[in-house]
């Protein structure tokens, strides 16, 4: 396909710049847009985080100059704040662990931006994500280390139909080399990490400023109180460090966060075995790899960004999805996405709402 009117979202990084250049090479009419996501951007990058500063906007503009495409800045700060930042805070407050990149793709890049682009006459939105689309189906990127299909799996077929990921077939190292060859100054810019709207990387501090002190108890699996905390939002299921539990466990083994109960703000800790999850229930499924399964299907599930793929059996349970893991997995947090794969093909995704240990929640129908 060529000759489409393509809106290239340009963060100021090497990936989105190279993606935009490739879209031009493919014969599309490309316009570059930098999304301003902060209403009060700082001037310079601090550390490796990058996409929200005036310097990043300038990098994006210079890349567009080199590629030779028109360039604009779109103010998405209000939408981003409401749909991503506030959602992030609310999810933590509810004892869940959100993925803001996934939410940004779902609500901003392939919703607010795509809708606006289509209304303005564009056919597609192009980004520097590492993933592939073939025949409307989302697949993992060739570069397994960079694969971002997990944070894109929330997109619907309609959204995927208007998305373009030109980098999915190329290893990152080659993308950098290509960017250098194209004369893009961002070729050796460091990768962005962590949460883009938390400039100093201190998620706990950010949440504490937003949510204030919300003290609660830290208990073990028997309910015995081991200590106090200033806010349950500072904990994630599977977390080991920073529990500040005074008395060592009876068996002397390390303890992990097993559960967060938001109403009573109780954090339950216990041994590693307590993290073992055998079955997952997940809500709001999106099926892009051939529709919802008519009967239980054996496939793979990924339970967090950069996590492994676990063999499982999955089936529909009313509006929800049940996922039976063939071998227990650890560190499964509510609020994260469960993304189902057949090989490298994304079948669909859903948001984890509940987990259980070994005992099945229900029989496979």
């Amino acid at each position: 396909m060529s000759g489409l009117r393509v809106l290239a979202a340009m963060s100021g990084g090497v990936d989105s710049a190279t993606a935009a250049a490739r879209a031009v090479d493919a014969g599309h009419e490309v316009t570059g847009v930098h999304l301003a996501l902060s209403s009060n951007p700082s001037s310079y990058r601090t550390g490796a985080r990058g996409c929200c500063t005036l310097e990043d906007a300038r990098d994006a503009r210079r890349a567009a100059d080199v590629i030779g495409i028109p360039f604009y800045v779109w103010d998405m700060a209000e939408r981003f704040h409401r749909d991503v930042v506030e959602d992030f805070v609310a999810e933590y407050a509810a004892g869940r662990t959100p993925n803001p990149c996934l939410r940004c793709n779902e609500k901003i890049k392939f919703a607010a931006v795509l809708d606006r682009a289509r209304a303005l006459g564009f056919d597609a939105v192009c980004t520097g994500h590492y993933a592939q689309i073939s025949d409307g189906i989302l697949r993992r990127a060739v570069d397994a280390g960079k694969d971002q299909s997990y944070v894109l799996a929330v997109l619907t077929s309609d959204q995927l139909g208007h998305a373009m990921f030109p980098l999915g077939d190329t290893p990152k190292i080659q993308v950098r080399a290509e960017a250098a060859r194209r004369g893009l100054a961002v070729a050796d810019k460091p990768d962005s990490h962590d949460v883009c709207f938390i400039a100093d990387g201190d998620t706990k501090g950010f949440l504490a400023r937003r949510l204030g002190q919300a003290p609660g108890q830290i208990v073990d699996e028997t309910g015995a109180v081991l200590g106090e905390h200033d806010g349950a939002y500072a904990f994630t299921v599977g977390q080991r460090k920073g529990l500040r539990v005074g008395t060592p466990a009876a068996d002397g083994r390390p303890r992990y966060v097993l559960d967060i109960e938001p109403v009573t703000r109780t954090v339950t800790v216990g041994s590693a075995e307590g993290l073992d999850i055998g079955e997952i229930i997940a809500a709001r499924p999106v099926w892009t790899g051939g529709g919802p399964p008519a009967e239980p299907v054996d496939c793979l599930v990924q339970l967090r960004a950069h996590g492994g793929a676990h063999p499982c059996t999955t089936w529909l349970d009313g509006e929800a999805v049940r996922i039976r893991l063939h071998r227990p997995a650890r560190g499964v947090a509510k609020g994260q996405a469960a993304v189902l794969y057949a090989g490298d093909v994304v079948l669909g995704s859903a948001t984890i709402t509940g987990t259980s240990a070994i005992t099945p929640l229900a029989r496979v129908p």
Partner: protein, 394 residues
């Protein structure tokens, strides 16, 4: 829609206007010549002569004495010098009030805000009417509240966004009744209206080169002979010790050449632009019937080259992008941070709500504008507004 980059349509002369060929020639010639106008030797004297001849030309164009022209790097610097310099010169005891309007260019607006935040000034923001006009009685009432405490008054001659022309002579007269110095930013007025410093009664007046066909980077503060602002830039003592810095001979010469040429054809040009502008307004309103013309109706209260609309239900930056894709250059006429459009402070001051302020575009005509430009806009504005409206409705 088809992009047509081969024949761009430039409707943003209020941002900057093409340099006049005579100015380019004069500047190019001068760039190849040697001499610091402050040097005492022959090369210096030659450069000095060019500067002084240019000063005389500009004085004639703007109805001032040559000694009243203080060269600056442009409008922003001249505004800063006038507002800060006159405040500092007159600040004494409780004399700390600075009177200005809520529709000024940011060069004045932010200077006054800074004086308020950092220099103990007491800013008084004069309101405007629905057309953006400052009424002399509004100024009088504001001064009357405490006349002896007013340090300086600054009111723009013509507004850069909506083209409103203020009654500068009457406003200056009101300030003078109370012995208060009056500054006016005439950057937008200078290319299209007869700007006569002496007749205006102003004590300080800002002009700049690139809005009338000269180069960017040169301007002047026209200062009455008895008016002595405290300098912002200190150094070699050039320009009456008010503005230090080596004089930019090539730019100053080109500024003078452009201003003289502009003045020679101003009357005919103003009439020509007003007619084109009226055609533009007519055609835009025909294509987008619910568009609203902001600012005063066409006539003596409006710059002849200015047309400014709100397009209900649209976002200005989406419209701008669609027009740009069709080779048409215009402006949302608003301040930018990383290119992010803020709703226009001018429209907000005129009583517009945020959505009307966001959905606005300025089309400004100048010396190279033709009917072809207006017709090209008329051809695409209807569809662009439809699309922008659909995009905003999402």
């Amino acid at each position: 829609m088809t992009a047509n980059p081969t024949s761009p349509v430039y409707l943003d002369h209020a941002a900057t206007t093409p340099m006049r060929p005579a100015a380019i020639a004069a500047m190019t010639e001068e760039l190849a010549r040697l001499g610091n106008p402050s040097s005492l030797h022959a090369a210096g004297r030659r450069a000095r002569r060019v500067v002084e001849e240019s000063r005389e030309q500009l004085a004639e164009v703007f109805g001032a004495r040559p000694s009243e022209i203080v060269f600056t790097s442009g409008g922003t610097e001249a505004d800063n010098l006038a507002v800060k310099g006159l405040y500092w010169a007159r600040r004494e005891g409780s004399r700390r009030r600075v009177l200005t309007t809520s529709v000024e260019h940011h060069a004045v607006l932010d200077s006054v805000r800074w004086l308020e935040e950092a220099q103990g000034a007491d800013a008084v923001w004069l309101g405007v009417d629905l057309a953006g006009l400052v009424r002399p009685e509004v100024l009088r009432a504001a001064i009357c509240a405490a006349p002896e405490q007013v340090a300086v008054v600054s009111v723009m001659w013509a507004n850069n966004e909506v083209g409103t022309v203020n009654p500068v002579r009457e406003l200056a007269a009101v300030a003078h009744e109370y012995g208060v110095p009056f500054h006016t930013d005439a950057v937008q007025a200078a290319a299209q209206l007869p700007v006569d410093f002496t007749a205006s009664g102003a004590d300080a007046l800002t002009v700049t080169g690139h809005k009338l066909g000269g180069p960017v980077g040169v301007g002047a503060l026209i200062l009455g002979r008895g008016v002595a602002p405290v300098p912002v830039l200190h150094g070699g003592g050039q320009e009456r010790d008010i503005r230090s810095g080596t004089l930019d001979t090539p730019a100053i010469r080109a500024f003078a050449v452009a201003a003289s040429e502009c003045a020679r054809c101003r009357v005919d040009e103003a009439a020509r632009l007003a007619e084109l502008r009226d055609d533009l307004i007519h055609q835009v309103l025909a294509a987008v019937p619910d568009a609203v013309l902001n600012g005063p109706p066409p006539g003596p209260d409006r710059l002849p080259g200015n047309a400014h609309f709100s397009f209900p239900g649209c976002e200005g930056d989406a419209l701008l992008m669609l027009l740009d894709a069709n080779g048409i250059a215009c402006s949302t006429g608003s301040a930018c941070t990383a290119g992010v459009a803020e709703p226009s402070h001018v429209l907000l001051a005129m009583g517009a709500d945020h959505s009307r302020a966001r959905g606005s575009l300025r089309f400004s005509l100048g010396h190279t504008s033709t009917k072809r430009d207006v017709d090209a806009l008329a051809l695409v504005i209807g569809e662009a507004a439809d699309r922008a409206r659909r995009a905003a409705a999402r």
